[in-house]
Subunit: 341 residues, 2 copies
């Protein structure tokens, strides 16, 4: 059976169920406008651990445990964990996978990891290659800043275009079998290509990612023969305030305006008064808003069909040091709420 | 349709074809005993580039281009690139994906990346979610050493248990349709769990990975109701000389001896006189021997059924610095040669 639509899009014939989901966030994220949608808010970003990395690992595992609890899926019934994070060699996800003892496939897509894991998880579930799969992604301000930019102790000034790496983990449990009262399904997806607009400033990530996001959106609408109005919401993550406006402009110029339905997780995560400059970033930002707010809104009936798209800036500290530009990538997933509860 | 056998293994009903494959290696690897199986041997490990990282990116792209040529699959007919490398933020694979403009899903499994990509590629092809997929992995001695251990200029002494990161890239093209004269198929796979024997010495990677490899092998034989004698060859990569012997001992103790069919890519890559101590490592080591030697031997008819298993040591420079142990993981894939040419 051919599930392909065009070269990059997939239609799922069995439409995997999202039976459980959870979002765990840090202190600052818990003070922001999305507060009520999160399942667990840390009292302290060190989360009782000795290092920021161990704290992030504990946060990711907490998000997975809560999602499994939400879906009433025992850990031993999970066949597959798909996930990743921003820390070198996927340190956070690796240690979470060690603690969970679930068969594990590690992914790196920078901030595009959440939808990357959802696409792979959906393929495994839809085709009968796994019965229950956990998809997860995580980021932490304190682990990411010291790896990608400066040690926190350095106290360096951030330019206005900089984004704030969210301390956040999100997780969804996909299954071939629906749970009682749950009816959110993954119906389609579009896998992104790497698009490089040639930007070399690591504090301009929104601009570096926006063209990839536009490429994936246009491809999605063409492959699926749909328009933006076919969706209640189109949510990217995380272009931030600058990247969001670039995307809106570019889509307008392409004759495919998205203004009505569109928003960005990086733009939604914090208020202006939280001093995060161009908004949130980090793969946990979109992971926590998709796993927290979007899933809850679909369960409540305020959203019926959502196009969620995590976006990644594929820079590394090495490539930046070697004068390379920052390529972007974006993967999109269609979530559909079915019936009432 | 349920393709699962046990919790961790998959049987592919359509058995994807490996229609093309290629291995590109560095100078030292081209002087070793596997020389005749490689498709392209670098004259200089810098490969005409300004940095080791750019050289590795060019090497990975070369392996992909050669594999596509071997399979007579035009680049524009490839729906999906699955791959990874050892360098922070998957820098090598990201830039190769940018140059190729193929929809891309980045993976990190340390040295287990080649079979991780083959499992995912097989699931996409087998279920009709992609028509042609490229699976690839890469490592380079000079990029890996300075990231994980010491700058080469430091000239530090390596302990006898250390392994030598191979300068090598391997790539396979999977397809739902066979090519004329080609008849190698992927029939099954086993996804590994993270197993941590508690080893903290980054120069004892074979010992850190062997228990994960044993776990995956025993699970594979149990799930598939098979024994080692069902395979012409069982090839791990890359436990090196020490890890290989640990695996042999452990399998013997578990009542499942593998001595007759078993070898390790790290043990095969170099001769003793090449001064690499405990053998080869790096995800390119197993990727190049699987994509080079195993595929060619299957085409020649000297191998009919092979169990290939890449093994990963999930350490990071950060986790080692924080006193964490090194978890291991291993994923296994069954290759079958069908009929004559």
């Amino acid at each position: 059976m051919n599930h392909q639509r065009g070269k990059q899009s997939i239609v799922f014939s069995n439409r995997p169920y999202v039976v459980g989901a959870a979002a765990v966030v840090g202190v600052k994220e818990g003070q922001g406008p999305q507060r009520k949608w999160f399942d667990f808010i840390l009292e302290d970003d060190i989360f009782g651990e000795k290092t920021w990395e161990k704290a992030e690992g504990k946060m990711l595992k907490k998000a997975i445990d809560l999602a499994l609890g939400d879906g009433r899926v025992p850990e031993k019934q999970v066949d597959l964990l798909l996930g990743g994070d921003l820390i070198n060699q996927l340190m956070i996800a690796n240690y979470a996978a060690r603690d969970l003892q679930i068969p594990f496939l590690g992914l790196y897509g920078a901030c595009s990891t959440m939808t990357e894991s959802l696409i792979m998880g959906s393929v495994f579930i839809d085709g009968g290659y796994a019965s229950n799969a956990v998809c997860a992604a995580s980021s932490h301000y304190c682990t990411a800043e010291r790896q990608f930019r400066m040690p926190l102790e350095h106290g360096n000034q951030r330019p206005p275009s900089a984004q704030w790496t969210a301390t956040a983990s999100g997780s969804m449990v996909l299954s071939g079998r629906r749970s009682p009262g749950r009816n959110i399904r993954i119906s389609a997806a579009t896998i992104g290509r790497v698009v490089d607009p040639g930007i070399k400033d690591v504090n301009q990530m929104g601009a570096a990612m926006a063209p990839a996001a536009v490429d994936t959106l246009l491809t999605h609408f063409r492959d699926m023969d749909r328009t933006p109005s076919d969706y209640d919401v189109i949510l990217s993550g995380d272009l931030g305030n600058i990247g969001k406006n670039i995307l809106i402009d570019m889509m307008e110029k392409q004759g495919c305006p998205v203004t009505e339905q569109y928003n960005d997780c990086g733009a939604l995560m914090y208020t202006d008064s939280q001093d995060v400059h161009s908004g949130g970033s980090g793969c946990g930002c979109s992971a926590s808003i998709f796993s927290g707010r979007v899933i809850k809104e679909m369960r409540q009936g305020t959203l019926r069909r959502a196009l969620i798209m995590s976006t990644g800036a594929l820079l590394s500290t090495i490539s930046s040091g070697q004068g390379e530009s920052i390529p972007g990538i974006a993967h999109a997933v269609v979530l559909e709420a079915e019936g009432g509860e």
